[in-house]
């Protein structure tokens, strides 16, 4: 399954590297991380990673295949 996670603010390259399995793009005050998520555990892991890095998740949704 593919997901995208919208994060508030522009993420630095350094911190974007903390999500090596996802691609990212910076746009209008947000950073969008997107890519393939293996399973639910991975999904929750990504959320926890955002939290532990002090990132504010604005939106998270599944993308059509």
């Amino acid at each position: 399954m593919r997901y995208e996670i919208r994060i508030e603010g522009h993420l630095s390259e350094t911190l974007a590297n903390a999500f090596p399995e996802l691609e990212h793009v910076v746009m209008s005050g947000q950073t969008v991380l997107f890519g393939t998520v293996i399973d639910e555990a991975h999904l929750y892991g990504l959320l926890t990673r955002c939290q532990s890095l002090g990132l504010r998740v604005m939106e998270m949704r599944q993308l059509p295949e």
Binding site: I7, H10, S12, E13, T14, L15, N17, S52, L53, G54
Partner: protein, 895 residues
């Protein structure tokens, strides 16, 4: 530096001085209330709100990373007049046994529990209800309540622990105030606490800084901003504590702080990411390097930090960083930790700035920790650095290999080494692999690895450094000998161990009592298998009395179970029962989730119950052990189980099944005399019952004369098969040593009585039966009489014998004509018994061998309520003991 931080032997010494159940000074920093930095701003509105925690059982401080939860709670807790137990939860705590061991320790350290309070968890994978019940009762009885703070509770992901916390909280009454500091909502039924007004809640919005508070905080950092600028900053950071602190630090370094902050407001970067990079940029090269490198560590002291940077400047740098509250918190004893939020971000920077350095940093840390005697952390970092040989070497050199089998760390260690690949080729690595395989009873792999390790070890020259590895080897040898039923191999291992331990410093062996206790248990088990009862007793008694608390619970319980079996095999029912009960209750007290040693204690209790003809009880006990994981390839318990099961089936009249169950399903190198003899007796009795006396007699050739209990039973079968002379021969060969108990004397007297009776000497027969009755009464040994056959009935019906048998063997009811009555088959009460739903609930739990306290906890009622129900159950069933109540209820189909 004092105490925990030193790299020399001081750490080890201070560990010995304390009663820390986990034996680790490193851990003490987890119980430390974090100190507040000089720039900490106390916010009165939050303190006032938090004070309500003293009126509610549960308090939740909930907010994102860097919201200031920990410092707020620590500051509040430091000002309390109540004892405060503080525990910082870590990812490794998700096993209930480990988590509760830390909770117990934190309660002990703040004085809420007596230092000598006995009960503490001893198995990492689980905690028995009994242990939590007694903790709750203890807390409930406190004069002053204790405040338990669990910081970073979001790391606790195990729902079982949440349930257990809920249980303890519920039953601790006014004795416990639980404060959870967490990023995520815990899995507790918060709505229920909320509805009952039993919850104090501080959430993210409330933790946010108001513009006034932000202004005060910035002033503490030496920044004086006009009110609109402060408000704008609060908007930009959403009042986030970490964001405000970082912006203050970053702005302070700029020549024009106000302008700097304006630019930051207009910028769109993520707050912490951007600000941390900014603040980092302002530090010296050395400081940046230090911060990046220590981000691989949970906690560190200057010396450990130096070992990562290969410099010697950590002490002043860390002191300086802590003073300005940039990134680190002080835990006391010169130990620090990075703020969790910054640590994560710093790790991202580390990966970018020093790519590939992480593994090497882990290994440097592992080597420092190993030198300083911090074993668990050495292992964690060694494995994180990918060097399993280092980790395995540390474990083996420390003589800690026994921890793979017993104690709180066993699960975590097993999991840690589960990822070991084939590249780890040292003898220590093979020993760890062998231990893991033997622990899960995978004999093929275990024996193979062990052989490989031995070959490698014997190929090297004898050196003092290898003593620990060789001693570890003997432990595994003894276990292998026990599991394969090979007593000579066990003796060889014991002798080698004895020799090797001469060459080891005492303190190393003293620090690991589990090693010796396990070794003695395995050797004892092998000797018991071989039938060398006295030699087995000698080592098993030592193991059963081993020091070491939770570290040695497993071998202690196992050896007590073996001793119980030994007593049973010698014919001492009462002694066997007492020992087996002691083993079972020791396991319960330690909160072991499943009985060790395949439940040998319960198997012995079942065998005793069969001899007492309490067949329902025997059945219940055997059912309990049958539910244990069927992975045990362990001769002694397997034979114990075969013995109890086959005798029970025999008495149930299932002769065919009894004969089949008699043979223990385990492959062994050397046969066991008692296991074979018991199997032969049961199969012979089954044949006789099926009307095949010749085959029965033939089967008795397999009975060993050294086994008095079996020999006496064989003699009984010979008489029954019409061969009194063979019986007399067998009896003559039974040595009347002091070690045999009533089961032997009773059996022998009855065999003689039958021979006298059949040859017409009723007077002698009666005298012998009277003696047997007297001996058996104390032990409630009923089987020899009730399974003896018809010949004994007329004897028991006569006056003096009847008096001796009444009350325990025969019912005392007038007009029963001396007919033997099985206990439990008493005449049905005249009035039909009707139990209330609650009484039935209590009775069902009683049948599961739960104590009154456990039943109370389980049913959420008081102990007195349970006692009331019990009394009325007893009255309705016309009994006055719990065992009788359960039996009677089973017979009446009430259960």
């Amino acid at each position: 530096m004092r105490g925990v931080g030193t790299a020399d032997g001081a750490a080890r010494r201070s560990a010995d001085a304390s009663t820390d159940p986990l034996g680790d000074p490193y851990l003490r920093t987890r119980f430390a209330l974090p100190s507040r930095p000089a720039t900490f701003l106390r916010r009165q509105r939050l303190v006032v709100h938090l004070n309500q925690a003293l009126r509610t059982p549960l308090t939740l401080v909930n907010g994102s990373a860097g919201a200031g939860k920990t410092l707020l709670t620590a500051d509040w807790a430091a000002g309390l007049r109540l004892p405060v137990a503080w525990l910082t939860v870590e990812a490794g705590d998700h096993r209930p046994g480990v988590f509760w061991a830390y909770v117990f320790e934190s309660l002990r350290m703040c004085g809420a529990r007596a230092a000598d309070a006995a009960a503490a968890p001893a198995d990492s994978s689980g905690v028995g209800r009994g242990l939590l019940t007694s903790l709750a009762a203890e807390l409930n009885a406190l004069d002053r309540p204790v405040v338990l703070v669990l910081d970073e509770y979001d790391r606790m992901t195990n729902p079982e622990v949440a349930e257990q916390l809920e249980f303890v909280l519920h039953h601790s009454g006014q004795g416990l105030h639980l404060v959870l500091v967490t990023r995520t909502e815990p899995l507790l039924p918060l709505h229920r606490y909320r509805a009952a007004d039993e919850l104090t809640e501080i959430r993210g919005a409330e933790l946010s800084f108001t513009p006034q508070e932000a202004g005060a905080l910035l002033r503490l950092h030496g920044l004086h901003l006009p009110e609109p600028a402060t408000s704008a900053l609060v908007d930009r950071t959403r009042g986030w504590a970490a964001g405000l602190r970082l912006s203050a630090l970053a702005a302070r370094e700029d020549t024009d702080p106000e302008r700097y902050l304006k630019e930051f407001e207009a910028d769109h970067s993520t707050v912490a990411d951007f600000l941390l990079a900014e603040v980092l940029k302002g530090r010296t090269e050395e400081t940046q390097d230090l911060l990046l490198r220590v981000s691989v560590l949970d906690r560190f002291c200057p010396d450990l930090a130096d070992s990562l940077t290969l410099r010697t400047d950590a002490e002043p740098l860390l002191a300086g960083l802590h003073r300005e509250n940039a990134f680190i918190e002080r835990l006391g004893h010169s130990w620090y930790r990075l703020h969790p939020l910054f640590r994560e971000i710093l790790r991202a920077h580390l990966r970018e700035r020093l790519p590939g350095a992480e593994a090497e940093l882990h290994l440097r840390a592992a080597r420092w920790l190993r030198r300083s005697g911090f074993l668990p952390e050495t292992l964690a970092h060694g494995v994180a650095g990918g060097d399993f040989d280092l980790a395995a070497g540390a474990l083996v050199d420390d003589l800690a290999i026994g921890q793979l089998f017993t104690g709180l760390r066993s699960d975590a260690l097993t999991q840690l080494f589960a990822g070991m690949g084939s590249e780890a080729g040292s003898p220590a690595s093979d020993l760890v692999r062998a231990a893991g395989a033997l622990a899960r009873r995978d004999l093929d792999h275990g024996l193979g690895r062990l052989r490989r390790a031995q070959e490698q070890l014997s190929g090297t020259e004898v050196s003092p450094g290898l003593v620990a590895a060789r001693l570890s080897c003997t432990l595994l040898e003894a276990l292998a000998a026990r599991l394969t039923g090979c007593p000579p191999r066990a003796e060889q291992a014991a002798a080698t161990a004895e020799e090797l331990s001469q060459d080891l410093p005492d303190h190393l062996l003293d620090a690991h009592p589990e090693l010796t206790a396990l070794l003695l248990t395995h050797v004892g088990s092998a000797r018991l298998w071989e039938g060398r009862f006295d030699d087995a007793r000698a080592v098993l008694t030592r193991a059963a009395g081993a020091p070491g608390g939770s570290a040695t619970v497993l071998p202690r319980v196992e050896s007590m179970g073996h001793l119980a079996l030994l007593d049973y095999l010698n014919g001492w029912l009462g002694r066997a029962e007492r020992r087996a009960l002691a083993a079972v209750s020791e396991a319960d007290r330690a909160g072991l989730p499943r009985p060790p040693g395949a439940g040998l204690g319960r198997l012995v209790l079942a065998a005793v119950a069969v001899d007492r003809q309490e067949l329902s009880r025997a059945r219940a006990l055997l059912d309990e052990t049958a539910r244990l994981p069927a992975r045990e390839h362990d001769p002694v318990p397997t034979a114990g189980r075969a013995l109890a099961v086959s005798r029970l089936l025999l008495d149930d009249g299932e002769t065919h099944a009894a004969a089949e169950a008699a043979e223990p399903a385990v492959s062994v190198v050397v046969a066991s005399p008692w296991a074979e003899s018991h199997a032969a007796v049961v199969r012979s009795a089954a044949c006789l019952a099926d009307g095949r006396p010749d085959e029965a007699v033939r089967l008795l050739h397999g009975v060993c004369g050294d086994q008095p209990v079996c020999a006496v039973e064989a003699a009984g079968l010979q008489v029954a098969a019409g061969r009194p002379r063979a019986a007399a021969e067998l009896l003559g060969a039974v040595r009347a040593e002091g070690r045999t108990g009533p089961a032997v004397s009773v059996g022998a007297a009855l065999v003689r009585a039958r021979m006298e009776q059949e040859s017409g000497d009723t007077v002698t027969a009666r005298r012998l039966v009277a003696r047997a009755l007297l001996d058996a009464r104390r032990e409630r040994l009923r089987r020899p009489f009730l399974q003896a056959g018809d010949w004994i009935e007329p004897l028991l019906a006569t006056a003096p014998l009847r008096g001796l048998a009444e009350g325990w063997l025969l019912s005392g009811r007038p007009g029963a004509h001396g007919e033997p009555v099985r206990p439990g088959a008493e005449p049905a009460p005249l009035v039909p018994v009707e139990l209330s739903g609650r009484e039935r609930d209590v009775l069902r739990r009683l049948a599961r061998m739960m104590s009154t306290e456990e039943i109370a906890a389980d049913l959420f009622v008081s102990v007195n309520t349970v006692k009331t129900h019990l009394k009325s159950v007893y009255r309705k069933l016309a009994v006055n003991r719990r065992g009788d109540a359960v039996r009677r209820a089973r017979d009446l189909d009430l259960l």
